[in-house]
């Protein structure tokens, strides 16, 4: 690939030099960094010394592509790490050195919590306080959100570098509230502290503790420094503006010992402020580098797109130079009354683009600030109906929403009557449809027969046991058909056998919790295999021995099996994290707690299909605007939906947390006023709009509907700015025709 002169400078810069590279999105910074990596290897730099460090995984794609190409010379693999994985690897490897000073038990391994398992721990602390002492009466918020925010606050403190005991004070000082609001801050603080204590006592590390252990106890050790200095002697750090103060501090102390480094900063970004991204502390790294280079010229935008960006900026009240091209060449818009009409317009335009103009589907993206499942579903159906490949990034979806996972959970409840969770007859019917299959007449369990079977084989009297087929009335048997009977019977008998086996197995010996526990030799150990419930194992067996077999619904249904896989993983993670801890309430098992958590929507299908997005590239992308932005991949055409939405400029408001007040740059004496809010909001909108435009090569399509998705009219600031722009660009006569 041809490089520009400024990109050449990055590639050719000395191998014992630190560079600070800055510029807007689309000016070729990442391309230059990739070229530099290739050049380093070609010059004989050991590839094992090159490390690419990123604030988050979504940015890895361009590096992955380059480093996985056959054109790269052989050698040790160039590692791409996120700051989070660097922290995690360090804590894992050097645990023994940090455990004691950080207040953990050194003789037991660390147990790393995911966001979800951390929320479970938080629930064990928060719930009793709510129920017995009326905590959090003063804030209107669902439980799941409550847990998430307190966990989040701990992360903010760790990443921004202030003591986690200071959270409430900061919030109280800055937020205008009354005494009940102030109480809520104090209560959240108390819960945060209790959470920390519980984690320490059980060797559990949520992300905030990983960061604290890393920054306070490990990064200071010579062994740790030596290890990373060797692995990252030649350092490339991209999108540092999306990084956290903890990452920036780590870099500041790392830089003096590297051979070379390139720190890359997108000058108008910092989109993940709500995850403690800190463009300010990123910018401060500039002074620690030997040389600063700025890229100015966009390699992405056509002149009309650039002009359109300027027009939008002007409409938002920002300064912009006089356009040198006609922005209208880069602008299309559809004005419709109803939302679905607007979606149709989008689908029609995309069909034209792909079929008549030959634009590759992967060069098209559909964006909205929030992407409801209804929009996603409608657009995917429309486009797939036209034969256009389409992909969608779904942040994460609650496990209980997956029909396949729900079917397994129903079976889990049936197989463990001691939990006393009697599934509803509807759930039994749907389970039967899913488990015995639902495609094709006659051969599999359809809704009618499933319902008949559920009504007759699962009457209230049986207390959550399925009745044998032969005990049903002959007429019912005939209606369900004898073809389906054996499959039902096999499934039922498998569960019965499981129940009986567990009833007969010796009661599980209570595991001694924590300290002093010594696992016995594996071969001597041989516990009664099914005595204690391991739900993930239960699912695996049931899946392998029955549900994945011919004649059953998961057989060859890969969406269902994938959902089942996620459930198994999630159940396993949950069990391994908590089985041995006193956090599971007395008399309950981790399995039951897991099912309860899924029911409450606390556990989501986090990893499912994450890869499809990376791999299937030639498909129209439907994504929330920020997701598209932080993936950092320019496209030819963008469709913006829902211009009237508040989501374009509004941060996520949560009553117990605050991205600015709990950040590294906040002065802990100020009040957060409406002026601050306005400024933050304007910046958000401006940066978002400009960030999107800079990732567009040819054309932006604006989809406007008078009535928004929920049927009411929206008039957010972007829509107003858009209206002003159109009024300026089109003479009144033309505007009337629209």
């Amino acid at each position: 690939m041809e490089l520009t002169d400024s990109q050449r400078r990055i590639v050719d810069s000395a191998r014992d030099h630190t560079l600070f590279l800055t510029g807007d999105a689309g000016t070729g910074k990442t391309t230059a960094a990739v070229a530099r990596i290739l050049s380093l290897i070609e010059q004989g730099v050991p590839s094992g010394e090159i490390l690419v460090l990123l604030p988050h995984a979504a940015l890895a794609l361009p590096y992955q592509r380059a480093l996985r190409s056959a054109a790269l010379p052989p050698g040790a693999q160039v590692d791409i790490l996120t700051f989070g994985s660097l922290v995690l690897q360090t804590v894992k490897l050097f645990w023994g050195l940090a455990a004691k000073p950080a207040g953990f038990q050194a003789d037991a391994p660390p147990n790393f919590l995911t966001l979800e398992t951390a929320q479970y721990v938080m629930s064990t602390i928060v719930d009793p306080l709510i129920e017995t002492r009326g905590y959090f009466d003063g804030v209107t918020i669902s439980r799941n959100r409550l847990y998430a925010q307190i966990v989040d606050n701990l992360e903010k403190a760790a990443l921004s570098g202030f003591p986690h005991t200071e959270i409430a004070e900061r919030m109280k000082n800055a937020i205008l509230t009354d005494s009940s609001g102030a109480h809520a801050f104090e209560q959240a603080q108390e819960c945060a502290i209790l959470f920390r204590d519980a984690c320490r006592a059980n060797n559990l590390l949520d992300f905030s503790l990983q960061v604290e252990v890393f920054t306070r106890h490990l990064w200071t050790l010579p062994e740790v420094r030596a290890y990373w200095t060797q692995r990252g002697a030649q350092l490339i750090v991209d999108n540092i503006e999306e990084g956290t103060p903890a990452m920036h501090r780590t870099l500041a102390s790392w830089l003096p010992s590297v051979k070379s480094a390139v720190l890359i900063m997108d000058s108008e970004a910092g989109f993940r402020r709500f995850l403690s991204a800190s463009p300010e502390t990123a910018g401060a790294l500039r002074d620690r580098c030997d040389e600063v280079i700025e890229f100015e010229q966009s390699l992405v935008m056509s002149p009309p797109v650039e002009a359109l960006g300027d027009e939008l900026a002007r409409s938002l009240g920002e300064y912009a130079p006089e356009p040198s091209a006609d922005p209208r060449e880069a602008l299309e818009y559809g004005l419709r009354r109803f939302y679905p009409q607007m979606l149709n317009w989008v689908a029609d335009e995309i069909t034209l683009l792909v079929k008549d103009q030959g634009v590759p589907p992967g060069e098209i993206v559909i964006l909205a600030p929030y992407m409801s499942d209804a929009i996603r579903f409608t657009l995917m159906q429309r486009l797939q109906g036209e034969g256009i490949p389409v992909r969608s990034h779904r942040p994460s979806r609650s496990l209980r929403e997956e029909p396949a996972a729900r079917a397994l959970l129903t079976l889990g409840a049936l197989a463990h009557p001691e939990w006393g969770m009697q599934p509803a007859p509807f759930d039994i019917a749907y389970m039967l449809m899913q488990a015995i299959g639902s495609a094709g007449a006659g051969r599999t369990m359809d809704l009618i027969r499933a319902q008949l079977l559920a009504e007759n084989a699962y009457p209230a009297e049986t207390k959550s046991r399925l009745a044998p087929f032969e005990t049903l009335k002959p007429e019912i048997q005939e209606r369900i058909t004898y073809l389906l009977a054996p499959r039902y019977e096999e499934l039922r008998k498998w569960i019965e056998a499981y129940i009986v086996e567990r009833e007969q197995a010796p009661a599980p010996t209570p595991t001694t919790k924590k300290k002093g526990r010594k696992k016995k030799n594996a071969l001597e150990e041989s516990p009664a295999p099914i005595a204690g419930v391991r739900l993930d194992h239960f699912f695996s067996r049931l899946f392998g021995e029955v549900l994945s077999q011919r004649g059953y619904g998961f057989h060859g249904d890969f969406d269902a099996s994938t959902a089942a896989g996620s459930l198994v993983e999630s159940a396993g993670n949950f069990r391994r994290a908590f089985e041995q801890t006193p956090l599971i309430p007395a008399g309950k098992t981790a399995a039951e707690e897991f099912v309860r958590m899924v029911d409450r929507g606390l556990l989501a299908d986090q990893y499912a299909r994450a890869w499809t997005l990376n791999d299937q590239t030639d498909a129209v992308l439907i994504a929330p605007a920020y997701t598209f932005l932080i993936r950092n991949q320019p496209v030819t055409a963008q469709f913006w939906l829902d211009l009237g939405s508040r989501g374009w400029f509004e941060r996520l408001f949560q009553p117990l947390t605050h991205p600015y007040i709990l950040s590294a740059i906040w002065e802990n004496t100020r009040t957060w006023t409406d002026d601050d809010e306005q400024e933050a909001r304007h910046d958000t909108l401006f940066h978002l709009v400009i960030g999107l435009v800079r990732r567009c090569r040819q054309r932006i399509y604006f989809g406007v509907s008078e009535l928004g998705e929920n049927g009411s009219a929206n008039t957010g600031e972007l829509l107003q700015a858009f209206g002003r722009m159109i009024a300026r660009l089109t003479p009144p006569e033309a505007a009337n025709e629209v």
């Binding site: 052989p74 693999q77 791409i80 050194a106 067996r541 089942a564 996520l652």
Partner: protein, 274 residues
């Protein structure tokens, strides 16, 4: 179609060699099929965890975490035995320049192939030793190990990547050897040497194999004829080759460290629904 960013490894190649259909499902189409692979799962899991821990301890040992600190984390008898065995004989006679958990990445047949080496011990100009820790309950035969693609892929990758590890000079295949060291059989390591002829043959074989995979389309990945394997395969239900998982203690090798647990490159923080 294989994803653009797909990278071959000994695991995926071994899958193809064992059963093309397995390769297709697991790597080409990435189908999750969460059936138990061997039983009893409780023991399998404990064994896997122990194996992973053992690998990590050696990693820690190599990068300078004090032995006393490492030893403190041992909380079960079997692991203690393995650790003692390792300290006593695991590194016997190998050079003292070392890389632990080293991933090599080499181009081949328009793709890349990686080899994640447990420990590379070397003395430039003299000797390059690949050490692989095995914690399986049974000790596989030499013939079995010889036939495993790991033996081929690791030695091949090391020689190919040689220049990048050896200050720009190529590694002489004759200076390479691979040692399988068995935690349960510490005194019976299996050693494979290497030479230029082997290397050329390995290159031909791997190139051919990858080219073969690449040119296959949907429906061109047949099932293995060796039905005994199917008991240990999660997809057996799909192919109507059995219901129950195979017995764990009859299994010769398990990949305790590689690709068992999800690697944490994914962000811990879920994207908030914007």
């Amino acid at each position: 179609m294989l994803p653009e960013s797909f990278v071959y490894s000994q695991t995926s190649l071994q899958d193809f060699a064992d059963c093309p259909a397995l390769f297709d499902l697991r790597w080409r189409r990435r189908i999750k099929y969460p059936a138990a692979e061997s039983e009893p799962l409780e023991l399998v899991e404990a064994h896997m965890e122990r194996g992973a821990l053992f690998h990590q301890m050696i990693h820690q040992h190599t990068i300078g975490v004090p032995e006393s600190v490492i030893a403190e984390s041992i909380d079960d008898d079997e692991l203690a035995v393995w650790w003692a065995n390792y300290l006593a004989s695991g590194l016997r006679g190998v050079p003292d320049k070392r890389y632990a958990e080293l991933t090599l990445s080499v181009p081949i047949a328009n793709r890349r192939m990686v080899a994640k080496i447990d420990l590379l011990a070397f003395e430039p100009g003299r000797e390059w030793v690949i050490l692989d820790w095995k914690t399986s309950l049974r000790r596989p035969t030499r013939a079995n190990l010889m036939a495993r693609l790991q033996t081929t892929v690791y030695r091949y990758a090391l020689v190919e990547a040689g220049a990048a590890l050896n200050g720009g000079a190529a590694i002489d295949p004759a200076q390479v050897k691979m040692i399988y060291w068995f935690a349960n059989f510490p005194d019976q390591p299996e050693i494979f040497t290497y030479n230029a002829e082997d290397h050329a043959a390995a290159g031909r074989m791997l190139t051919h194999m990858i080219a073969d995979i690449e040119q296959r389309g949907d429906g061109e990945f047949p099932l293995t004829d060796d039905v005994r394997r199917c008991a240990y395969c999660a997809y057996r239900g799909l192919h109507e080759r059995g219901t129950k998982a195979g017995a764990f203690d009859a299994q010769e090798l398990t990949d305790e460290a590689t690709e068992m647990f999800p690697d944490f490159t994914l962000d811990q923080i879920a994207e908030v629904a914007f």
